[in-house]
Subunit: 209 residues, 2 copies
DNA sequence: TAGATTGTTAATCGATTAACAATC
DNA sequence: TAGATTGTTAATCGATTAACAATC
């Protein structure tokens, strides 16, 4: 089964909403409720759920527990996946801290940096190691995913070391586009681009009014 | 002229690359070079450039200066746009610091927080104000864009205040989906979703091999 | 039953790519 | 000229939405 990337993103969002709903004592949820919360259409929600191969016999909405489990069976692995944050600046710390609160099948098990004042300490609840120990620790700790938050001028070389060490996926927050082996799944996010996009549409909307 | 969102994102990326190229003394660039750097096709680059209404008479690549100017004429406003970062945690600081280095038409002119130990200080190079002063400062400083980096439980109410204060665009980094007036341009980014997407495709790739 | 909801196909919409003419 | 490149239309691909049957 191969689901589209856009559907995967939404499944992740559905799950977050559903987990929230559990706290309120709700047991079932309609497609139009999920849609409303996320600003989607109910059809799209139902279609995504259909693509997972799940369906409910009831017409009284989806059982929240069941839906969470089904999404988990798509997104998670049984044993979980280990993640490293590479580059412990403000952004690296933000991400690490963000994650540590969550119970999740994704575990940040190490952070890496070059700064001697950071290395070999616990930062945001996780051990920080010197980048020289990549290769060793990625194997020892069975890390398959790296979140890249190093300064731009280090991005390319660090990414290359990560690939050589056998990392399987990289989420790249640096402003540098990476050109790496296609065996490694790469997701890029550039916040400058996002904010420039917002600025463009703000400008456009204004000139329309 | 109404350009698609995806094109706008790429224009922002083209410009960043082009600015970099200037430092190397390069004066012209081929569509296939830009494409290569960003992992796109040359056709897509040329099409985006076409959509801007620009064309070059030369077959020796695009003049880098000209291209930067043309992109600027699309993305920028003459006087620039003022931006506020709302919520000065690690992420807010990361974003603020990230921006301050750049010469850009987007200026972070204020940050906001509730924490008394942060308020009325300069953080990452920008004044931090108490959230109570939103309304006043958004008008006084002519802030049209907010970057939302508050804790999840404050996201909805803070967003509402922002909308009431007359903000025109919000870039939402909280994990809460906002339901706000459609007059305000909203761009959402959820890093949990991104990392879960990477994890999914890592899992998939592995099971394929 | 009537009304609301789910499940699913077909149609539409939007974005990317293929193909190729024009030009240096 | 031959080869490389740009500019642009048409075709393709992928994602969303409309329409509607089925069911509680």
């Amino acid at each position: 089964m191969k689901l589209p990337g856009k559907t995967i993103e939404r499944l992740s969002q559905y799950r977050r909403i559903l987990l929230n709903c559990l706290n309120t004592g709700k047991t079932h949820i309609y497609s139009h409720e999920l849609a409303e919360i996320l600003g989607l259409t109910a059809v799209q929600v139902r279609r995504d759920i259909m693509l997972m191969g799940y369906s409910t016999s009831q017409k009284k909405g989806y059982d929240i527990h069941e839906l969470i489990d089904v999404i988990g069976s798509i997104l998670d692995t049984r044993k979980g996946q280990n993640v490293a944050v590479v580059g412990v600046g403000n952004l690296g710390r933000a991400i690490t801290g963000y994650f540590m609160g969550k119970r999740s099948k994704l575990n940040i098990v190490a952070t890496f940096d070059t700064d001697p004042s950071k290395v070999n300490r616990v930062i945001a609840g996780v051990n920080c190691y010197p980048v020289q120990q990549f290769d060793e620790l990625i194997k020892d700790l069975n890390i398959s995913i790296a979140i890249l938050t190093v300064p731009p001028d280090h991005a390319a070389s660090v990414a290359e070391s990560l690939v050589i060490s056998g990392i399987k996926g990289i989420l790249n927050f640096t402003s540098v586009s990476l050109n790496i082996s296609s065996h490694v799944y790469l997701e890029e996010y550039d916040m400058i681009t996002s904010i420039e996009k917002v600025a463009y549409f703000v400008k456009k909307n204004n000139s329309v009014l």
